[in-house]
């Protein structure tokens, strides 16, 4: 079988190990630019234009991914405090503060080597206002060329031709010329088409992996496991043959589990019987990631679909990059990112997940320092509950600030929530009453 034991005694899929190795290569590439002479472009996961960035031989550095790595490695707590010491408020997004704190403490990558200064900052603005402020801080820090790609919000729940043309115009007039200037590489649209073709191959496979969760038992966990699955395609590998190779292996692995009637692999090994199927809204907590996951699989709860695994692109609603319309397709990709979608669109998507994935409930993990997710979350929750008739649950934590992960409270709520689902499923209580 594909399950292996890592050196820390934690069970991992082969794909998880592959993903880890890719992450390692990504950081090695980034931290060796001095030797390789490559230039660096910092950009964000949502609206990440990796195919375009690669056309200029630029290496993609993603600050949120760095913050997540620091969260998983239990380093973000000190970085957040460092950023607060530098004057950043307690309420600021903790990805930002982890990044700022990391800069102040030597800017070391997970491999222990210093991260390079970016040669250009590329901000594709896709619904998260904080990203703009974050890049202002980075621009101030590095003083390098900064590109702002403005992607209009899907307020009316649709993308008009005008909106698309507006983004394409910016790509042609702002983004591409600046990247050419910074990199010294001339833009070649056929090269972009080639990368996009590679993207499509990976996207198809990713969607099949995510949709495998429609089976019972689900062979994947689409939130905790899903985070490993989205890594390559949301990060610096979309459009590369490596990503396609990863998703090919992943798909085979998941398909083998499905055929054998097995559930996901958890850090403690194969998951026990599936008791609760959940759709989860909101990002996870990274500082206690494994403990958090255990609170689910320990009770037999598996996440069958999540919104968080759509932040870097919503592919399961039909979108694919189109190599025949290279710039338009990049624009459409940006429009479709989860945080750029209106609340009614998010509700529709989540309600659809609950139904199509035959979920038992809809759970929201509200992130203290994430406004782009939290705004409207309670309304979303109530509406999804109303439409689907499935019980909704609500917990609170934070991205990478360990101070806001209260294990006892979260466990208490989750246990209550699972028991509530169970009780609703049974749908009856003893007759009679007493005063």
């Amino acid at each position: 079988m594909t399950q292996t034991q890592s050196d820390t005694g934690v069970a991992k899929d082969r794909s998880m190990l592959m993903q880890k190795a890719m992450m390692g290569r990504h950081y090695d590439r980034l931290t060796s630019v001095q030797e390789s002479g490559a230039k660096v472009c910092s950009t964000f996961v949502p609206g990440n234009l990796n195919e375009l960035v690669m056309c200029f031989d630029l290496v993609n550095n993603l600050p949120e991914t760095n913050a997540i790595q620091n969260g998983l490695r239990k380093k973000s707590g000190n970085f957040v405090m460092e950023a607060e010491r530098l004057g950043h408020s307690e309420d600021v997004c903790t990805y930002v503060k982890s990044d700022i704190g990391m800069l102040a403490k030597g800017n070391l990558a997970p491999n222990g080597k210093p991260l390079p200064d970016p040669d250009v900052l590329l901000l594709s603005y896709t619904g998260c206002f904080t990203f703009m402020k974050w890049f202002e801080l980075l621009r101030d820090q590095y003083g390098c060329p900064t590109i702002m790609l403005h992607v209009p919000y899907q307020g009316d729940g649709r993308v008009t031709d005008n909106m698309r043309d507006y983004v394409v115009k910016q790509l042609k007039e702002e983004v591409i010329p600046t990247l050419e200037r910074v990199s010294g590489v001339k833009f070649d649209i056929d090269r972009l088409r080639e990368y996009l073709r590679e993207s499509v191959a990976a996207e198809d496979k990713l969607v099949r992996v995510l949709e495998s969760a429609k089976h019972r038992p689900s062979p994947i966990d689409a939130y905790f496991g899903g985070i490993y699955y989205i890594g390559p395609i949301f990060g610096a590998f979309r459009g590369t043959p490596e990503a396609t190779e990863f998703y090919t292996a992943l798909e085979q692995e998941v398909e083998a589990r499905r055929a054998a009637g097995q559930g996901p692999i958890t850090p403690d090994g194969p998951m026990g019987p599936e008791r609760y199927r959940l759709v989860v809204e909101g990002p996870p907590n990274y500082t206690s990631f494994r403990d958090f996951w255990k609170m689910f699989y320990g009770e037999g709860a598996v996440v069958v679909a999540s919104s968080y695994t759509k932040v870097g692109g919503v592919y399961d609603m039909g979108f694919r990059h189109d190599p025949d319309r290279p710039l338009e397709t990049l624009a459409e990709y940006c429009f479709g990112c989860y945080t750029n979608r209106s609340l009614p669109q998010r509700i529709k998507m989540l309600a659809r997940y609950v139904e199509e994935y035959q979920a038992d409930g809809f759970l929201t993990n509200s992130i203290k320092s994430c406004n782009s997710f939290s705004a409207g979350q309670l309304l979303i929750m109530r509406e999804v509950e109303r439409r689907t008739g499935k019980p909704a649950g609500f917990i609170e934590s934070d991205l990478v600030d360990p101070r806001y992960f209260s294990a006892a409270n979260i466990r208490n709520r989750l246990e209550s929530y699972f028991q509530m689902i169970e009780q609703k499923r049974r749908g009856r209580v003893p007759a009679g009453g007493v005063a």
């Binding site: 609500f394 609170e396 806001y404 209550s416 609703k424 009856r428 003893p430 009453g433 007493v434 005063a435």
Partner: protein
Amino acid sequence: MKCFVGVDLGSTTTKAVLLDDQLRVLGRGITNSRLNYETAARVAKQEAMIDTRMALIHRGLAGIAALEGQLDDVLAGIERNFRLEQFLEQLDDLEQTCRDALTSDRLKPVADRAGAALDEIFGPLRDEAAALFAPGAARKSDFFRDIAGSRYMALGEPAARRARLPFELLLNVYDRSIIEVENRPPSEDLAGKFGRAVNRLLAETAALKAAEAEAQAQVDQVLALELAETYTVGTGYGRVTLPFSKEHIRSEILCHGLGAHMMYPDTRTVLDIGGQDTKAIQVDDQGIVENFQMNDRCAAGCGRYLGYIADEMNLGLHELGPMAMKSEKAVRINSTCTVFAGAELRDRLALGEKREDILAGLHRAIILRAMSILSRSGGVNDQFTFTGGVAKNEAAVRELRKLIEENYGELTLNINPNSIYTGALGAAAFARRAIEDETQGVAA
């Protein structure tokens, strides 16, 4: 007799409820939660069984003609004397444990003087016990730890002086011993204590004397009745540490919802404000939880908020409500932080605001917090049941009533005098249902 037991292990108190197979409440018991949760659960359970037997004795004695018109006094008398017996038993245990502590190497040199001091404490304590449980006597608490502790302190100080010992030494002996005593499994000798209680009462009450044989037969019959613990379910904050297997544990949210439904079957929204959490629960017409919200990250707006304010103002917790009721205009107080509210309180006092008005503002603040949790959970639907320690506070209830009416219109507000047992009641109902499920499972 088949009994179904629910145990609610809270941070301050542990409660137990006994139900029969028709879901009728047989008895309720409460004790202070202590280090050893197993003991706390056993004591609460035993208290509920004592309560059950008292109720059964009530039923038995009700048929005796000679006791007509005096039944309540007789029952109260039995209970009082039973509590006295229980107290004396624990007092013996405490004294022996204290004396044993004196044999340690550290205390051996002063054992004689300390022993004399213990004589001076336990002698009077035992003598005044009867008065503590006399008819109409007011006790500040019903928990042994509280009653014995406060008297030990009061008698210990002069005793230490006379024995030329530091008071801290006696205090230390007490602290260690009370923990040992409290965490020992409770004594099982109920029949002996009930017997002695009835004998004491016989000497006091002529009516009982007249019906002695009949009454004794009834009491014996009740004591002989076996209360079989058919199934037990535990809940509450300490539920994971309860010595029960996983199938015997339910979340307090579910138990609260079901308990409120059992008390008031038309309940749709439940608000529980306890010591350190506030819960808003929506239930359907079967008592099944539909949605819930709790305070998180911060305990402002919980019962502890009032406890903190009481400490700040040097008042007893139970004095806050009545004082706030005297207010004519509430002062606006911030509701987001307990500690800030303390600062605001001192500020307002310095500005010359009346204590009553400030307290009214504080009660409003705590209820405003609850209102926000309620709306997060889906609002307030008729009927609305309020539970938890804060439901006993009239000023909090007044503010709640006002805010509910302003925001949700007129609806029925239920507050049960036994609301502290809501969680345990729901747990007991789950215990009853577990048996139903098991038998159905066998049938299937």
